[in-house]
């Protein structure tokens, strides 16, 4: 009923009109496109982070230097692996299907090393997040690092926060155009360098660099440089905090990973409130330490107010801590009004108590244990990695062949993986059968087969095993192929079967 009335407009006081005042029908309705009506889409308000100094800013500089250094320089590290094998320390060699990482060389079927690495990385991320919140987001995420770099360039060209706001509002004078052109040019150069560095991971860096400069590099190299140039410029220079707030799923996930014992960048409301301007010489009685200078807001690259409590947008870069710690000594109050603190402690402090941060708790122990287990498995797998591997595939069709003298022959496909960087000769033999005769197309025959495999290659060939009829008493005999390298005694084995008639 109510909705019907609303839909047609409910007459209010229509019947209660007096004689001298005619009844006016008032309708409870609102203009669909009312001015006040909030848009479903928000226009972006540009954030102009102010410069700050302090412990965390310094840490961020160091992290930026290290991460960017690793990214830009590591493809240039050389690592001698011998002739005809790439000597680049870190190389993803798609055409040859190899991944090189210093002394480690991974073949495509060993991609589980990378899986292990990813698992390790995830658990580390979980552990760090449960201990100290969004450390990844605040310090090491490429989005943060490059945005930081781009903002630094912007500040260098256009000045600090106030100067930039002023410049934004200025009409397009020559000076403004010059500054903007210089800024965007440097941004583009950084972006090109970023895109350029990416492709060096996939080809020999010095060779490719030469090809790129002479415009002889493969089209795909230019394509990927273009792609990464565009994304770096767009995401780091233009989109910035929008990426974290709207595009990245990680803030939503990380929210589930910290708890009341995680150290998070927090405004200590119990100390700061009630906030208010403070004049020199005024008493601090009955008020909080926060002087409402809004320095924490001005330095925030995400454009939030940390005093509103924990927020999705907060990447916990801790720059507000630095900003506040510059202010507090000036007004004669202790530092760390904004600091890494736990929910538990904030709650306790509000009641006048205190709670020590508990770093060792079920969650962190579990993550640490998982990291250790994964790391251990990886280590064992890596140490026990053989540079020789043998795979045996029994023929499916026909499963066996009867020869004219009655003897039984089985066919197998042998795959020998020589992961050494030199030619190796092997002896192939079979255990579990008596009087077995081996032969391979183009390789001769005997109880021992001699085969050679090129360096860093897989070789596949067919091997026939023939056994006289009177030596076979079972339909299925379990056998084992044994591959021996006489030069160093290394052995690879693989199980198979020998089938005969019923």
């Amino acid at each position: 009923m109510a909705s019907t009335e609303e839909a047609y407009g409910s007459p209010q006081g229509g019947a209660t009109g007096t004689a001298d005042q005619p009844a006016v029908e008032t309708i409870n309705v609102e203009a669909v496109n009312a001015k006040e009506r909030r848009s479903l889409y928000a226009s972006r308000v540009k954030v102009h982070p102010k410069r700050t100094q302090g412990t965390f800013r310094r840490i961020k500089w160091i992290v930026m230097l290290v991460t960017l250094g690793i990214y830009y320089l590591s493809p240039w590290i050389r690592w001698d692996r011998g002739d005809s094998i790439p000597n680049q320390a870190i190389l993803v060699d798609f055409p040859a299907r190899r991944f090189y990482f210093f002394f480690i060389e991974i073949w495509p079927q060993e991609v589980y090393y990378i899986t292990g690495l990813l698992i390790l990385a995830s658990f580390t991320l979980f552990l760090v997040t449960s201990l100290a919140g969004r450390v990844w987001c605040g310090y090491t995420c490429p989005q943060t690092v490059w945005t930081d770099l781009f903002v630094t360039v912007e500040r260098w060209i256009e000045g600090d926060r106030n100067a930039r706001i002023k410049l934004d509002k200025m009409p397009w004078t020559f000076a403004k155009i010059r500054k903007r052109v210089v800024k965007h040019s440097i941004w583009l150069l950084i972006s090109i360098a970023t895109g350029g560095a990416w492709v060096f991971y996939f080809a020999d860096a010095p060779t490719l660099a030469g090809q790129l400069l002479r415009f002889e590099a493969p089209a795909s190299a230019y394509l990927f440089i273009g792609l990464f140039t565009a994304t770096t410029y767009l995401l780091g220079g233009l989109a910035r905090e929008q990426v974290c707030t709207y595009m990245c799923p990680w803030p939503r996930i990380q929210g589930a990973m910290f708890d009341e014992d995680s150290l998070l960048v927090s405004y200590r409301g119990y100390r700061g409130e009630p906030r208010g301007k403070h004049k020199k010489g005024e008493s601090w009685d009955g008020r909080g330490d926060c002087v409402d200078c809004k320095q924490c807001v001005a330095v925030c690259p995400m454009g939030i107010d940390i005093r509103d409590g924990p927020q999705l947008e907060c990447i916990q870069c801790a720059l507000c801590i630095d900003a506040c710690n510059q202010v507090m000594p000036k007004v004669g109050r202790p530092k760390n009004l904004i600091a890494y603190d736990t929910y538990r402690n904030l709650d306790a402090a509000a009641r006048g108590e205190s709670a020590r941060p508990r770093l060792i708790r079920a969650r962190s122990i579990l993550y640490a244990a998982l990291i250790c287990v994964t790391g251990l498995i990886m280590l064992v797998a890596l140490i026990s990695r053989s540079d020789l591997d043998l795979n045996v595939l029994h023929d499916r069709n026909p499963v066996f062949v009867t020869l004219s003298d009655g003897s039984i022959r089985n066919g197998y496909t042998l795959k020998i993986l020589n992961k050494q960087h030199s030619v190796r000769s092997f002896q192939v033999s079979v255990e579990g059968l008596s009087d077995a005769e081996l032969s391979a197309v183009g390789e001769g025959e005997g109880t021992n087969l001699e085969v050679s495999v090129k360096p860093d290659r897989l070789r596949s060939f067919r091997v026939f095993v023939t056994v006289p009829a009177d030596k076979i008493d079972k339909e299925v005999t379990d056998i084992e192929f044994v591959l021996t390298d006489p030069s160093d005694g290394s052995v690879a084995r693989n199980d198979s079967i020998f089938r005969g008639p019923k």
Partner: protein, 289 residues
């Protein structure tokens, strides 16, 4: 449902006015650029329709401005692959079969190419593993009707057996029963003798009688001991390997009615390089001589 700028008391966020079973939707606005991205994708799709093949028409489709076609791309790639292979193909064309076997690279190429050609052309009768079926010989064993050397296999492949080619390998076993050459009892005796040749259970008396008939009728083609004569395509009857089955009933049928299977000539269907690769492949299956 009027929109009244109502605020959610807990989050302090304005509601959109939409409500489902008491659950109200909060208005957390999407960034406007996100909307523009949607528009950009729409514009992109229009451009895509113009540039790329997109819309079906009654008998065809819109080809797009740059004329992209996956079929053409595949055809181009196949051509390139064929070009890359031509080095080997030329070598194979100019080499004899023994030469191919002696050259490791050519051998590997031929085994791969021969295997593919076998799957396309031979597997329907001989089976994917060349294991054969009744009437279609197993090519893995060392029992050959017309010889198992490279050249024998090559000739068989080229001209076929009882095919319509002039050069075809040809023989014909008489239908001893149907043509009235032997009577039923005589055929039974011969069958017993053939079973005996293979070491199978047999009737000694019948077999002895069969031996005489065998020496009269069969040795001309199958040889004195029944071990076959490859030049004539006469199978070995002593190795217990059977093309049409080794039971007394099957052997009886073979003798009485004859079999005379056919293999087509491939010379006009496949290139000489492919035939050479096929010969090497079949030879490598294990029975090559």
């Amino acid at each position: 449902m009027a929109h009244n700028g109502e605020k959610d008391p807990i989050s302090g966020v304005e509601t959109t006015g939409h409500e489902w079973d008491g659950i109200k939707e909060l208005n957390n606005p999407l960034p406007r650029w996100w909307l523009y991205v949607l528009y950009a994708t729409i514009i992109w799709s229009i451009g895509y329709w113009i540039v790329m093949p997109a819309w079906p028409t009654i008998s065809s489709y819109t080809k797009g401005a740059i004329g992209y076609s996956q079929r053409a791309k595949v055809a181009g790639e196949l051509e390139k692959a064929a070009e890359a292979q031509s080095v080997y193909r030329d070598k194979i064309a100019n080499s004899d079969l023994q030469g191919i076997m002696a050259d490791h690279e050519l051998l590997e190429f031929s085994l791969a190419g021969g295997g593919a050609a076998f799957g396309d052309n031979c597997a329907p009768c001989h089976g994917s593993g060349a294991q054969g079926f009744k009437g279609y010989p197993n090519l893995n064993d060392d029992n050959w009707l017309w010889g198992g050397t490279l050249d024998d296999i090559y000739t068989t492949l080229k001209y076929g057996i009882r095919s319509d080619h002039d050069e075809t390998r040809f023989n014909q076993m008489p239908a001893y029963g149907t043509d009235g050459i032997l009577d039923r009892a005589q055929i039974r005796d011969v069958v017993q003798y053939v079973l005996a040749l293979n070491g199978q259970d047999h009737n000694a008396k019948q077999s002895a009688a069969g031996k005489t008939i065998f020496e009269e009728q069969c040795v001309a083609c199958h040889g004195e001991g029944g071990e076959g004569i490859q030049e004539m395509g006469a199978p070995n009857l002593t190795d217990n390997i059977w093309l049409y089955g080794g039971t007394p009933e099957e052997i009886h049928k073979t003798v009485a009615e004859s079999r005379n299977g056919v293999m087509p000539a491939w010379v006009d269907r496949l290139s000489d390089e492919t035939l050479k690769q096929l010969s090497v492949y079949v030879h490598s299956l294990g029975g090559g001589q």
